[in-house]
Subunit: 248 residues, 2 copies
C-alpha cells in the first residue's frame, strides 16, 4: 500500500497571483495529484467565478484555500519551503531541479511530520528576491532557455506530479529519524537577530547593505538549519551582544 | 553541448480538441520544453484568437501547426506513437508511465532518426479505443484515483517536460559556472577564528566545550562554504572582535 500522507502536509503557496483562472488551474492540478492545501498570498481576485470554472471538479480545494496578506504568514509553521524561479541569478548555485526538490519536500515532511511548502510567484514577475529569501531553497524547472515561460497552472501541475511520484517512490522506505528542523519562524527570528547584531558591531551598514543579508540567507538556507543549531547560533550572537554592550 | 535534436522529431498530436484555449496552452507548454511540431486532428475551432491568447509567446508553434482530418494522417511517417489515456482498460498490461514513455520516444527517435508522436485525445472523452489502437503503446499519468482529470494543457506540459529530461539525460550538460569553493585551509582558519571569538565572548568555555565546535563544523560542513562566504563570516567575526576589544 502506498503511504501518500506526506502529500497532505504540502502547502501550495501562490503569491500575488494576477489571474483568477490560474488559481483555478492550480487547484485542479493539485487535486489530480492528491494535494489539498492551497494558500493564497494577496491574490488579485479571490474568490472569483473564473477560478471556479477553471478548477472544474476541484472546487473543494478553492473552498478550503487560506488567504493571507504576506508570504511570511503563509510559511509560518513550515519546516521547509521550496520557491520556484526561472531566473539565472548570481546566488543560484544550489538551485534544485523539480525531482530533487520533490524528494526533499517529501523526505522533510515524512521525517518531521511537519508541513512543507512549494511557493509560486506572480505570473509576470515571479518570486521577488525578498520572497525567495524566505524560502529554504530555490527550484528551477529545466526549460527552453529561449522561452522558459511556463504557465502558472502548468508549473503547479508539473511540481505536484513530481511530488506524487516522490511520495510513491519513497513510501516503502522506513523514515530515517532526523534531527528536529528549525521552523520558518525560528529561522526568521535568527536572521533578525543576526542582522541586529552585525549592525551593532558595525559590519552591516543599514545605509549600504551590499546584499549581505541575502548572501547569508543563501548560506544558511543550504545548511537546512536544525532547531538545536538555531539555539547555538542565537546563543553565540547573544554572547557577542552582551560583550559589546558591557563596554558602552 | 546538449543534443536535444530528438525533441525536433517529436510530434505532439491533439485529437478532436474542443476548446481552442487548450490548443494555445499546449503550444506554450511545448515551446517551454523546446518542442515545435504540433499536429491537430479535426479541432473544433482553429485558428482561433482564444488559442493565440493562451499561447502567449508561442504563437509560432500555432502558425506552423499542421491540421489534418484523421489520426492516421497525423501519425503517417512516424516510427513510434504513445497515446495518453487515463482509463484502466483490460488491455492495459503494457501501459507506460510518463518517464518510461519519454525514454522510449527519445530512444526511438535517436536510434532511427525517425519521427515519433505523443497523442492526446478529446478533453471530455480522451482517446477512443480506435485511436489508441493506432498508437504503439498507451501511457497513463499516475494520478489521484478519485480525480484523475488533468487539464489537457497541463498533461501536455508534463509529458513535454519528461521528454526534455529524457533528451537531456544522455547528453552532456553544459558546465554551469559555480561559485568558487573555499579551500580546506580557509575553512580551518575560519573555524579557528570562530573558536577564538566565541571564547572571547564567553560563549565557549575551553574547560567545558560541550561538543560545540563539532556541532558548528557539522552545520557549516552541510553548507559547503564558498570563498566569498568565508570572507563575509570572518568579516563579521572581526567586527565583533573589534567591538569587544574596544572596551577593555
Amino acid at each position: 500500500m502506498n503511504d501518500l500522507s506526506a502529500l497532505d502536509r504540502v502547502r501550495v503557496v501562490l503569491s500575488r497571483t494576477s489571474h483568477p483562472g490560474n488559481i483555478g488551474a492550480a487547484a485542479r492540478a493539485m487535486k489530480t495529484m492528491g494535494l489539498t492545501r492551497l494558500w493564497l498570498v494577496s491574490p488579485a481576485s479571490f474568490p472569483d467565478p473564473v477560478a471556479e470554472a477553471r478548477a472544474s471538479g476541484a472546487k473543494d480545494i478553492l473552498d478550503s484555500a487560506r488567504v493571507v496578506g504576506s508570504l511570511r504568514e503563509a510559511l509560518s509553521g513550515t519546516v521547509f519551503a521550496a520557491g520556484l524561479t526561472a531566473r539565472r541569478r548570481d546566488l543560484s548555485a544550489t538551485r534544485l531541479d523539480p525531482r530533487a526538490a520533490a524528494a526533499e519536500l517529501v523526505q522533510w515532511s515524512r521525517n518531521t511530520n511537519g508541513e512543507v511548502a512549494l511557493v509560486f510567484g506572480n505570473e509576470a514577475s515571479g518570486l521577488s528576491n525578498e520572497e525567495l529569501g524566505f524560502c529554504t531553497l530555490p527550484v528551477t524547472i529545466p526549460a527552453n532557455p529561449a522561452y522558459p515561460s511556463l504557465n502558472l497552472g502548468a508549473a503547479v501541475q508539473l511540481m505536484c506530479y513530481e511530488l506524487r511520484l516522490a511520495a510513491m517512490e519513497h513510501s516503502a522506505l522506513p523514515a530515517e529519524p532526523l534531527p528536529e528542523p528549525a521552523t520558518n519562524d525560528e529561522i526568521e527570528n535568527f536572521f533578525a537577530h543576526l542582522k541586529s547584531s552585525i549592525e551593532a558591531s558595525g559590519f552591516l551598514d543599514p545605509a549600504k547593505p551590499r546584499r549581505l543579508m541575502p548572501k547569508l540567507r543563501r548560506l544558511f538556507g543550504r545548511a537546512r538549519l536544525e532547531k538545536e543549531e538555531i539555539a547555538i547560533l542565537r546563543g553565540i550572537l547573544a554572547s557577542f551582544d552582551t560583550s559589546m554592550k558591557s563596554c558602552r
